[in-house]
């Protein structure tokens, strides 16, 4: 490195020193100007005229059904809130406010104390929510003597149909402390706490805007400085059809159970019902402990979404699976005859048919139409339950469907391996028998059953059950469609499928068929009844009289020739599937075909 004397550089250092001194002088003069010459002015600004951002909450996205009918809305309400920092004499303000809006001072102090650990300075604390016009007017009129008190407009969530579809819609509640820590949501903001309100919360929520106001030393607004508009939440268009949903809710009535109706060609859910239901309107304003306890402790668990969270033995609806597995294996031919004497013996054990007198000799078609247990014991044994179990899994039973709702249950398709691990006992022929007719360890959810019958209807396509059809940004108006998501293609042997479909039509139309209750003049229905045996459980709810009745199942699609809708119904403790569940499906079909004629998809 060649180096010469630094002398010439050092000659220029005074320039650098001069620059530094110039910087210091400029800053000093400016500081003097701000702090000495105008110090009093800025001091007043800081002390008395403070700028305060007031949050403007965004309206949450509206939820519509597939035809654009609103099913979740917002209602503008007013809350009276207090910003304690803005009240020079807080006690006096509390006393006056309490007298004015008829709230005792103690509960105001309590509200302030409750909010203290989680609020930031100048965040308003809600004192009285959803006040009437009189209270708003009173507070506005006495604004001068109520420093720190503000009226906050809020978009309150409203579910106009009450308990309708409440399990899929979910509900909103005040943001919890944990959520606040996690994603810095604002105090008092409503967030989805269940159902689609939670799944799509990020879309629905929107973003707050703010209004800047200048306030004076007594907390009064002296000037509006400007406004930054809130971003409203995105609107959702669901796949459900309000009419079909209403019909299904009504058909199920007061009985506990679930209905899932879907378009087998897209996976779009047309109706999803779980009863008993709850009113989501209880939640947005903060549910009372009494209401919460009665929901939580109710013996029939109204918060439970039975359509996706409850799993039941599929009963005779599973004969569809056993039948398909047996026929596809080639081991059982459709014309193979089985004679039912009302029971079958294996070793010391006797396995009965539901018809004690026996069905006589029958082949596959009549076996399914009359739902003969002995027929399915026999073919189940011949093909082996392992083959049936594999088939069931391929049909999506015992696995999560991926419906966009929380806490879906998978259910169970038992295997010998599973049983050994679980009960330390080997798989007996008896296990094959009872599993072949859908009893025993088998557990499926209503939505899985709907998907299974949907696959039979559409020829083996699997779609992820879809609840969201499209979204619409309320500001830009841009619409985003969500196309069907094809999950899998299940290849049926066409001959076997034809045999099955013809038998399913027989169930609802032939003499001796178990599904007559679903017949309707609107379309040919193909379906299968089921009755899931209820093993008495030793829990506290034993006192319920209906407890011992079996669960009634019905799975079906229509029109049989070119299916448009697939339905799964379960009525808990409803008794026989043909009598209790099939008529529910009938109502759903009728409403669907009736309104399909008048309404067009958007």
């Amino acid at each position: 490195m060649q180096d010469t004397s630094p002398a010439d550089i050092q000659k220029r250092l005074p320039f650098l020193a001069g620059l530094v001194i110039f910087f210091v002088v400029v800053l000093f003069v400016r500081l003097w100007f701000l702090q000495v010459v105008n110090g009093a002015y800025y001091y007043d600004l800081a002390e008395n005229n403070q700028i305060r951002p007031i949050k403007i909450r965004p309206p949450r996205g509206v939820i519509y059904d597939r035809h654009g009918r609103p099913i979740v809305e917002n209602v503008l309400t007013f809350d009276i809130s207090l910003v304690p920092e803005d009240a020079p004499d807080l006690e006096e303000t509390i006393r006056r406010l309490g007298a004015l809006v008829r709230i005792d001072a103690r509960s105001i102090r309590q509200a302030l104390a409750d909010a203290a650990p989680i609020r930031m300075k100048y965040e308003p604390v809600k004192i009285k929510e959803e006040v009437g016009w009189e209270d708003v007017a009173r507070v506005e009129a006495h604004q001068d003597s109520l420093p720190g008190v503000i009226v906050e407009p809020e978009h309150r969530r409203h579910y106009p149909y009450g308990g309708l579809a409440s399990h899929q819609l979910g509900y909103v509640g005040k943001v919890t402390q944990e959520q606040r820590k996690k994603d810095q949501t604002e105090l008092g903001l409503l967030t989805g706490q269940g159902g689609l309100e939670k799944t799509y919360d990020a879309l629905l929520r929107g973003a707050s805007g703010r209004r800047m106001i200048q306030i004076n030393s007594s907390g009064r607004k002296v000037k509006d400085l400007g406004i930054e508009d809130p971003k409203p939440g995105t609107d959702l268009y669901l796949t459900i059809d309000l009419n079909v949903q209403l019909a299904a809710e009504e058909a199920l009535g007061t009985r506990a159970g679930a209905v899932v109706a879907m378009d087998p060609n897209t996976g779009e859910i047309l109706a999803l019902v779980s009863h008993p239901t709850f009113d989501p309107n209880l939640f947005p304003r903060g549910i009372s402990p009494k209401d919460w306890n009665s929901l939580m402790n109710h013996p029939s668990h109204p918060l439970y979404n039975r359509a996706i969270q409850s799993v039941y033995p599929p009963g005779s609806t599973f004969k569809i699976v056993t039948g398909l597995a047996a026929l596809e294996s080639g081991i059982v031919k459709p014309d193979d005859k089985v004679t039912c004497k009302g029971f079958i013996r294996h070793g010391k054990h006797t396995f009965r048919c539901w018809k004690r007198a026996g069905h006589g000799t029958l082949s596959f078609h009549r076996g399914l139409v009359e739902s003969c247990d002995v027929y399915f014991y026999t073919i189940g044994e011949r093909v082996g339950f392992e083959a049936v179990a594999n088939y069931a899994k391929n049909l999506g039973l015992g696995t999560l469907t991926g419906v966009p709702l929380m806490d879906e249950k998978a259910g169970l398709i038992p295997t010998a391996e599973w049983k050994l691990k679980r009960t330390k006992a080997p798989w007996y022929v008896g296990d094959t028998y009872i599993s072949s007719i859908g009893q025993g360890f088998l557990q499926v959810s209503p939505i899985q059953s709907a998907q299974m019958i949907g696959a039979v209807a559409n020829g083996g396509f699997y779609y992820t059950p879809k609840l969201l059809k499209s979204t619409r940004n309320r500001v830009t108006g841009s619409v985003k469609e969500f196309p069907p998501e094809k999950k899998a293609r299940f290849l049926f042997n066409p001959k076997v499928l034809e045999e099955m479909r013809s038998a399913l039509i027989g169930v609802t139309s032939e003499p001796g068929g178990t599904g007559w209750g679903s017949r309707t003049e609107f379309a040919t229905v193909a379906g299968k009844t089921g009755t899931a045996q209820v093993v008495e459980q030793k829990d506290a709810s034993r006192k319920y009289a209906g407890k011992l009745d079996d669960h009634a199942w019905f799975v079906a699609y229509a029109p049989a020739e070119h299916p448009q809708i697939a339905v799964a119904v379960i009525v808990e403790h409803g008794g026989h599937g043909g009598a209790a569940a099939a008529p529910v499906a009938k109502k759903v079909f009728e409403e669907y075909f009736r309104s399909a004629g008048t309404k067009t998809d958007q």
């Binding site: 180096d3 630094p6 250092l13 530094v20 400029v26 400016r30 500081l31 009093a40 700028i51 400007g226």
Partner: protein, 376 residues
């Protein structure tokens, strides 16, 4: 000649100044981040960074500054590579992509780049002396050296760093020695360019349009803060109110209403000076400015006593860099510089800035302490 003991030449006065400024800054961070939940973890992090910084500063005394000078280009390329990495995988914070995540630590390569450019210019000019001053044609390499990171930080976009790179480099070039004719040519070219930017509408519109909306707003707000007291002018306005309301004696430690009530954004980072000025008044803020002045003059003294071009140029480079930091940051707080996001050396919260500052100061100490040595 016998080497003197290392410690005997260490400028303890300068170290004392550094310690006092760090302490004032740390107290400012404490006050700015203190909340009803108690002392913020930011305070402890800042304490930790200052501790690490001090160690690095003393470590910088060990090597010969010629060794450091030899690595100037290496440091330059490392920081260019990191800037490139930021463009590719960087983390976005506050609208600009400036951060590089290194495990749990977020690193801001633009801070390092500023120091690297200053040192590389020092290295270049010391090994390419031109008695009689540099001509414009001699400035090709240095210009390229500055332009590369400049373009990269503009892409982020980081207007503050770009501005600092330009100003600091200009000062270094002038100190390194530019012919008077060249200075005049640059000045004329600069004025012509600037006026054409402002006076010829198509040029103005293209340039103006290439800025991000928030940058446009900030520039407008700098020219006329009252025009937008809520949006972009908010920072500048609130900061001015904070500083002004401190008056002569200040509101007292922890008593600044502007700072404590969170009217002032970025108060523990870019606006730490406003917090100090509000709470300590003209007396405290003026004292702090004087401390910075003394520190910078110490640095210039190191350059003045350096025994070779490299030492003199590195010291002047570091001093120019720190001086520009100091001026733009405080200028931002008091409203004589646009709000561009430049930290106050030793005081603003931020690991990368603190470490880079101590690194620079260590270098100054090194040059200062070696001034009597003739052989290396």
């Amino acid at each position: 000649m016998q080497e003197q003991k290392l410690t005997s030449n260490i400028p303890w006065g300068m170290i004392g100044l550094i310690a006092v400024i760090s302490l004032i800054g740390l107290l400012g961070v404490y006050s700015a981040t203190y909340s009803s939940r108690g002392v913020s973890s930011i305070f402890y992090k800042q304490l930790m960074w200052i501790g690490i910084g001090m160690v690095i500063m003393f470590a910088m005394l060990i090597p010969n500054y010629h060794t450091i000078g030899r690595y100037a280009y290496t440091l330059y390329w490392i920081s260019v590579a990191m800037l490139l990495l930021v463009m590719l995988i960087g983390r976005t914070g506050m609208g600009a992509q400036r951060w590089l995540a290194l495990g749990p630590i977020a690193f801001q390569p633009s801070e390092l780049a500023k120091l690297a450019v200053a040192l590389s210019l020092a290295r270049f000019f010391s090994s390419n002396p031109r008695p009689g001053g540099y001509r414009l044609t001699d400035l090709g390499w240095p210009a390229a050296m500055v332009a590369l990171p400049l373009v990269m930080v503009l892409k982020q976009p980081d207007l503050g760093t770009a501005m600092m790179l330009l100003i600091t480099s200009s000062i270094i070039v002038i100190v390194a020695g530019l012919r008077v004719r060249s200075i005049i040519i640059i000045a004329i070219a600069g004025i012509t360019l600037a006026s054409s930017v402002f006076l010829i509408p198509p040029v103005k519109n293209t340039l103006w349009g290439s800025l991000k909306p928030y940058q446009q707003k900030r520039i407008k707000a700098f020219i006329d803060p009252a025009s937008d007291s809520l949006g972009s002018g908010y920072h500048a306005n609130q900061s001015r109110i904070a500083v002004g309301s401190g008056r002569v004696t200040g509101k007292g430690f922890g008593q600044g209403t502007q700072s404590q009530l969170a009217f002032l954004p970025e108060r523990h980072t870019d606006f730490i000076f406003a917090v100090i000025a509000e709470e300590r008044g003209l007396i405290g803020a003026g004292f702090l400015i004087m401390l910075y002045l003394a520190l910078l003059l110490y640095g210039i003294e190191a350059a003045k006593n350096a025994k070779d071009r490299l030492g003199a140029l590195m010291a002047s480079g570091v001093v120019s860099l720190l001086a520009v930091y100091f001026f733009i940051n405080i200028g931002m707080a008091v409203g004589v510089a646009p709000v561009v996001g430049v930290p106050l050396p030793l005081a603003s919260y931020g690991g990368t800035a603190i470490i880079t500052t101590f690194l620079s100061l260590g270098l100054l100490l090194n040059i200062h302490s070696k001034r009597f040595m003739l052989f290396y």
